[in-house]
């Protein structure tokens, strides 16, 4: 016998047995990535942690380690090929060595795959290096330990199911050791807390891995030695149990009770172990004091209960006993699912009961409602059970089913949650689709019993899977399909305008004007109530601008400006003019304080001029201020119009309205000066260029909106306006928002095309709905002096205004434009 060839073949066989495990893990990783992509950023990403997909990649080597150990050894015991293997002319040592080596090699390969993935993610810049640095220091050694531990347990327990269950507590062994060591070792010797934990952990893992390796070697070797007499006697000797008369005396059970009993007795050890695991999860909650700490453990236990439903009979083809005797599939199905389901129900109730407020061990809860979180967890556990039982029927190998079950359950739950948040699926729909796996197993029980895993079986399973995946998506699809989108013709027109002006907008950035600190009145509200009032001291000596906090009970008059000789208002206006002169581009609506200040100056200075009396130089100053402010208002309007954003267009509208008011007053020309008056009137009368600017702004705003993908957490900006969020989140949010924004833009475009109010009530409504505008009553600014204002000082006057915030197209084609045009017409003919 060619020894080398024999050993190579043995190694090949072991490797070949691992392929389904590796393939399944890859598929599951892909599925988790899909779910994570669907969920988007909203659900799973927080500032400091990585997305669930990346963590899943991290988990892969661990699952592989556990699965490889269990599969290579445990499965051989289950299907009884170990005996055949022992009969080959290779020594037991070589077999044990081959299994360990192949497992280790496979683990290295999986780590290499994960490494490649991480490198790719790192080059894309989505990796939190600190987190991964920690993870990569602690985790690889742990996976090696898991591999050896799983192998050792499989050799000892001689069953894949039991060894898999036993691995769960064993996996925590290094952690437990480290905790123990940290308690025992004096704290003072170590300076840096986190580094020492890592070192201790690594040490514990190495020690445990070596111990597990030794045990695996020893127990593996022992499995091939002749069984000791005690074990032999147990195999073939008489059992010390009641005599045969027992079964004669017991009455024949009904079919259902016979089946229930058969299932319960057959699977009693795995059922007990998994129930124990579930209770451990509840205890972890108690130990940590936080509902949900043991959630992951309970989910795994629920999924495993589901897997046991069908896997209990798959082992050794036991189901053939019932199949050969023609037991109805419905009886088989209900008896398989009943016992684990009842057990799950009891456990879930126990977990729920423990969330009753006031339970002694619930020291601290971080959720507003423990009850609600507990209920959600109960639902999740039921869902995990349902998915687990489906996985248990579909997957022939018990080890792979046990590993895949919890992962599929979490993927399914993740999908449901993502669908609710991202696609706007109603909760009842997301819950109802969990009937699909139950129906699937019920309908395909016959195929599973007869082991007819042919094409028709898999087609039917796929149908049920499709129902599960597609049904929750239907509301989203429905909403998306029904939401109207911008007409193609309009899109093309807009596209034309964008091409014409797009580059221009890019090269001329907008400028935000600023005021010197302390000059402006305070922004106390969002503009819907009376803004801060500005007071002006009529006393020429203290011709400063004082500030009054309108919300305070007592008036605090703060003199914030220096001596009157410096003319602070004029200086400020000059400063504003400087800022305007220094650039040529459009100005930003964010500088609305400047605009407001200028406007206030105009009002107050006009009031001063209107009030008869007062020193001559005050009048002169006021006249100067008035003229300057009007000029500035004109220029501000012009510069706002240059902006490619809608908000500036509407801000310009507001200024122009105020300007029109001033220009229409009698004696305006004299106050302002003929030249300035003429140019201001010309600006106001130029409807054509105003509309052209608006059109440009609409097109460019839409263009800018389209080039930025809507983010779930950040507000969306359309032409400077914040868009109200669409219902749902994630995908729904993005798609519906785009559609609605498009419709709003189309409406604006049509509005501009029509040039009038005709037939645009509907449009207005749509625009308002999108941009959340509100109606504002007209408000005439008022200047009250002395006793009328209720103030103590008869000389002090109070200006009461309301600064309106810009709203989308609120003043387009208003009456003021007609009046402005008329004014322009009259200006030509004095």
């Amino acid at each position: 016998m060619d020894r080398g060839l024999a050993m190579r073949r043995l190694w090949w066989k072991e490797t070949r047995q691992l392929v389904p495990l590796a393939a399944m893990l890859v598929v599951l990783a892909a599925v988790l990535h899909l779910v994570a992509a669907l969920a988007g950023d909203r659900l799973f990403r927080s500032e400091s942690s990585q997305s669930i997909a990346m963590i899943a990649m991290l988990g892969m080597p661990g699952l592989f380690a556990v699965g490889a150990g269990t599969l290579l050894v445990g499965q051989e015991w289950d299907v009884r090929t170990m005996g055949w293997l022992a009969g080959l002319p290779v020594t037991g040592r070589e077999i044990v060595k081959a299994k360990l080596a192949v497992g280790l090699a496979g683990l290295v390969v999986i780590w290499a795959v994960v490494g490649v993935y991480l490198v790719g993610a790192w080059t894309m810049g989505v990796v939190d290096t600190e987190f991964w640095h920690d993870a990569l220091r602690a985790w690889p050694a742990h996976t090696v330990f898991l591999l050896f531990a799983a192998t050792a347990l499989a050799w000892r327990l001689k069953s894949s199911l039991l060894s898999l269950l036993a691995v769960v507590p064993t996996a925590l062994l290094p952690l437990a050791l480290v905790t123990l060591a940290m308690r025992v070792a004096p704290q003072a010797r170590w300076s840096n807390g986190r580094d020492t934990t890592n070192v201790w952990l690594l040490a514990a893992q190495s020690v445990c891995a070596l111990a597990a390796f030794g045990l695996a070697w020893r127990w593996g070797h022992r499995a091939f030695l002749p069984a000791r007499t005690a074990e032999s006697r147990q195999s073939y000797g008489a059992d010390r149990r009641p005599s045969r008369a027992v079964w004669n005396a017991v009455p024949i059970p009904s079919p259902y009770s016979a089946l229930f009993r058969q299932f319960a007795v057959q699977s009693r050890v795995p059922l007990a172990a998994v129930s124990g695991l579930f209770l451990v999860g509840v205890l972890v909650d108690a130990a940590v004091g936080f509902v949900g700490a043991g959630a992951a453990i309970r989910m795994v236990a629920s999924a495993w209960l589901g897997v046991l439903v069908f896997q209990g009979d798959t082992v050794g083809r036991r189901i053939a006993f019932l199949a050969d005797r023609g037991i109805e599939p419905r009886r088989v199905w209900s008896s398989r699912i009943a016992v684990p389901f009842v057990i799950l129900g009891l456990l879930v109730c126990a977990a729920l009961a423990a969330t009753v407020p006031g339970t002694s061990w619930l020291r601290e809860t971080r959720f507003a409602s423990v009850r609600m979180f507990g209920s959600l967890m109960a639902l999740a556990e039921l869902a995990a059970f349902v998915v687990g039982q489906w996985a248990g029927q579909c997957i022939p190998s018990p080890v792979i089913a046990l590993i895949a079950g919890p992962i599929l359950a979490m993927a399914a739950i993740g999908f449901s949650v993502a669908a609710q948040f991202s696609l706007g699926t109603p909760w009842w729909l997301a819950a109802i689709v969990y009937l699909a796996p139950i129906l699937a197993t019920r309908c395909l029980t016959r195929g599973w019993m007869d082991r007819r895993f042919g094409a028709s079986y898999w087609v039917q399973q796929s149908l049920f899977v499709s129902v599960f995946l597609i049904l929750p998506v239907i509301p989203f699809l429905n909403a998306v399909v029904r939401e109207p989108s911008m007409a193609g013709s309009i899109a093309r027109e807009i596209e034309g305008v964008v091409r014409q002006f797009g580059s221009e907008a890019a090269t001329r950035p907008s400028v935000e004007l600023v005021l010197r600190k302390g000059v402006a009145t305070e922004d106390t509200s969002d503009g819907s109530a009376t803004d801060g009032a500005m007071t002006m001291n009529a006393d020429p000596v203290a011709a400063g601008v004082t500030r009054r906090d309108s919300s305070a009970d007592s008036a605090s008059v703060n003199r914030v400006h220096p001596l009157p000789s410096e003319d602070p208002i004029g200086a400020e206006l000059a400063r504003i003019a400087e800022q305007l002169k220094s650039t040529t581009g459009p100005i930003n609506a964010a500088g609305y304080r400047v605009t407001r200040f200028v406007w206030h100056v105009a009002i107050v200075s006009r009031a001063h001029l209107a009030a008869n009396g007062g020193p001559v130089d005050v009048s002169a100053a006021s006249a100067r201020h008035y003229g300057q402010s009007i000029a500035l208002m004109t220029e501000l309007a012009q510069r706002l119009r240059l902006s490619p954003r809608l908000v500036e267009q509407d801000s310009a509208d507001l200024i122009e309205i105020h300007l029109l008011f001033e220009l229409r007053l009698s004696g305006a020309r004299e106050r302002i000066g003929a030249e300035q008056y003429a140019s201001s009137v010309a600006l106001l009368a130029d409807t054509a260029s105003r509309n052209a600017a608006r059109r440009r702004a609409v097109a460019l705003s839409w263009h800018a909106f389209q080039s930025v993908p809507p983010r779930a957490n950040a507000p969306t900006d359309l032409g400077g306006y914040s868009i109200a969020a669409a219902p749902g989140g994630g995908l729904t949010h993005g798609v519906l928002l785009r559609r609605r924004a498009g419709m709003a833009i189309a409406d604006l475009w049509a509005l501009l095309g029509d040039g009038s109010e005709s037939g645009s009530v509907e449009r207005r409504r749509r625009i308002n709905v999108l941009c959340g505008t509100y109606d504002v009553d007209a408000f005439e600014p008022e200047l009250r002096v002395g006793k009328d204002a209720g103030g103590p000082d008869p000389a002090v006057g109070y200006l009461i205004t309301r600064w309106e915030q810009p709203g989308v197209a609120r003043h387009w084609f208003g009456n003021w434009e007609r009046e402005a045009a008329e004014l322009g017409g009259h200006a030509d003919s004095p």
Binding site: R241, N248, V265, G326
Partner: protein, 308 residues
């Protein structure tokens, strides 16, 4: 028992099934009369188990039809399995149950009387009732499986190589149980390659080879018509004419100057014709055993005859 009907218990017409790599069955016709033993012979892999799986509804035939107890296995497989006693090769039993327990468990699904018959059978087979099935020897397992299959007194017993690998005593027990069924008017469908056993107990024998029945006839007729002929020749190159229908040459081997032919339906006139041929020295005829018939059918001709 149901009314005695003249209808065959199992009836198969033109049954064919193909697996991805090979055609396992290529057109099978058979009828199994009530109260008889039908034996299906064939090499390993000839398709015996496939046929049985189709009859019990585990597989769907590619084409053709079959009826078992008047029911269609495609539609009523469960009903068939309930009414038939089916013992597969390597039957599935719950290893963790005890012998008495598994009978008690199975009794839940059948009419009353099951448990008594089961106990009686188990006692007759001398299987200890309080032992776990996982600890039984192979023969004892087979006996338990048979006891379970017989305990509900099925009209039809289907056995798929039940005694392969069992010792002669256990085989004998199986035979006795089978024949007991027939003596009370039930039917047995047996698939086996223990030809000697089949020779004792079968009423009808079918030899399955290459997806078709090469031989299907009652045993008595087979024995009457199957002959082994040893022809002594002067000259080994002498060629003998083929006999006409309905005689059939099954195998033909040369050994030096002697030729050994296994044939069916060969009549005396044909033998005389051969005797008259030049170069033929002597012809000895004797009845062929079923084993020889089987070997001849399966291995086929490898000699020289006209028309080959």
């Amino acid at each position: 028992m149901s009314t005695e009907s003249r209808e065959p218990v199992i009836s198969v017409r033109q049954l064919a099934v193909a697996f991805p790599a090979c055609d396992v069955l290529r057109g099978i016709d058979l009828d199994v009369e009530r109260g008889t033993v039908f034996a299906l012979l064939g090499e390993n892999g000839a398709g015996k188990t496939t046929l049985i799986r189709i009859l019990t509804g585990y597989l769907k035939p590619g084409s053709g039809s079959c009826r078992v107890l008047g029911l269609d296995p495609v539609r009523d497989a469960m009903e068939i399995r309930r009414r038939v006693g089916y013992v597969s090769d390597a039957p599935a039993l719950y290893d963790w149950m005890r012998v008495g327990e598994i009978g008690w468990f199975a009794a839940a699904f059948y009419a009353p009387g099951f448990i008594d018959r089961y106990h009686e059978a188990v006692e007759r087979y001398e299987v200890p009732e309080d032992r776990k099935i996982g600890h039984l020897s192979k023969g004892q397992r087979a006996k338990v499986a048979l006891a379970l299959a017989l305990a509900h007194d099925p009209e039809l017993l289907i056995l798929d190589e039940p005694t392969s690998g069992l010792d002669p005593l256990v085989r004998r027990e199986f035979l006795e149980s089978m024949l007991d069924r027939v003596a009370t008017g039930r039917t047995v469908f047996l698939s086996s390659h223990q030809v000697a056993e089949v020779e004792r107990v079968a009423d009808t024998v079918a030899i399955l080879h290459d997806g078709r029945f090469r031989v299907i006839d009652t045993l008595s007729r087979l024995r009457e018509t199957a002959t082994e002929i040893v022809v002594s020749l002067d000259d080994p190159l002498v060629v003998l004419p083929l006999p006409g229908e309905p005689a059939e040459i099954l195998s033909d081997r040369n050994e030096g100057r002697q030729r050994r032919i296994v044939a069916r339906g060969l009549v005396e006139t044909q033998l005389d014709e051969w005797r008259a041929r030049p170069g033929v020295v002597d012809i000895r005829v004797r009845g062929a055993t079923l084993e020889e018939l089987f070997a001849a059918t399966v291995r086929g001709r490898d000699g020289m005859m006209t028309g080959n």
